[in-house]
């Protein structure tokens, strides 16, 4: 169980750290670019994000979270339940429900089309605050699960 909890903490921290990079400098950087360049860079990012190197930890940690929550419920350990749920709902769930549809919509955009600027601004306005939330959720998951390994 400690190995499971530790692996989930590690995954949650890695994914949270990746999101943090986007919140603190990747998106602020893209925002400053001319619209067509920002869109082109983001579209390229959304293609590579769904490749195995990121998908394996991202989905793998979600599966581990489910197992961690289950063992947490079995043992009555609130840290494991809270940490697992934080990643599963706040980092993984939010991405699927909130960011993926917006990424899919952006992929349909022609970066040089006249109305692309309005779409890009709306995308940034919606995507970035959601990214702050999933960064915090990943970090909270890692924090709670790290504490869980230390108090159980």
């Amino acid at each position: 169980v400690t190995v499971l909890t530790t692996a989930t903490a590690l995954g949650s921290g890695l994914v949270g750290g990746t999101f943090m990079a986007f919140s603190t400098f990747v998106m602020p950087a893209l925002k400053r670019l001319p619209t067509h360049e920002g869109i082109a860079a983001m579209q390229a990012l959304n293609v590579t994000a769904v490749q195995p190197p990121f998908m394996v930890p991202f989905i793998g940690t979600a599966l581990l979270s489910v197992a961690t929550i289950a063992t947490g419920i079995a043992d009555g350990d609130g840290y494991r339940i809270g940490g697992g749920a934080s990643y599963l709902l706040g980092a993984f769930g939010l991405t699927i429900a909130y960011h993926v549809p917006r990424n899919d919509a952006l992929d349909q955009i022609d970066p040089t089309a006249p109305d692309s600027a309005a779409h890009w601004q709306r995308y940034l306005r919606e995507w970035i605050p959601g990214n702050h939330v999933r960064t915090l959720a990943g970090l909270a998951g890692a924090a709670l699960l790290t504490v869980a390994t230390n108090v159980q």
């Binding site: 949270g16 990746t18 400098f25 950087a29 994000a49 790290t146 108090v151």
Partner: protein
């Protein structure tokens, strides 16, 4: 541990900072740099310059320096302890964390500085990607050792 509670909190915070830093490097290795590989030179230069500028923000610098520096504090407080399994994992974690920081200062940051001046993609991209992959690996290994050490701290 002479002061177990202090060690616990410092160790937990250091572990979390290390996780965030490993995740940042991992994000570059798996997402940002592969994506930029597919954009044309103009977009690459503009994006990379903007990233290099915005990465110098207080939150990232806190994570970037805070993890390795707190690691050193942990290593220092451990110096008088007996040679337990906990101490060994901790010292390996500290060493890997510092190696990650050294790689950044010796390789990635000079490459950034050169790129900011000359805007030369061919002189930057391949080397930066390799060194970033190495520091991502080293920092993730440090994280694993910190987590292993946490499991060995005596239970309250």
């Amino acid at each position: 541990m002479s002061n177990k509670r202090t060690l616990d909190i410092t160790l937990v915070v250091t572990t979390l900072l290390t996780a965030l830093l490993a995740g940042t490097y991992f994000g570059f290795a798996t997402g940002v740099m592969p994506a930029l590989h597919h954009v044309d030179d103009h977009v690459f230069v503009a994006t990379q310059l903007a990233i290099n500028k915005h990465i110098q923000n207080p939150l990232f610098i806190l994570v970037f320096l805070g993890g390795p520096l707190l690691s050193l504090v942990l290593g220092w407080t451990e110096r008088g302890e007996q040679n337990t399994e906990l101490k060994r994992w901790l010292l390996v974690a500290v060493a890997l964390s510092v190696i990650g920081l050294v790689i950044s200062f010796a390789a990635n940051i000079p490459l950034n500085d050169k790129f900011d001046k000359h805007h030369d993609r061919s002189d930057f991209e391949d080397a930066w990607v390799v060194w970033n992959a190495i520091r991502a690996f080293v920092t993730t290994a440090s994280l694993g050792c910190f987590l292993r050490a946490l499991l060995l701290v005596p239970r309250r």
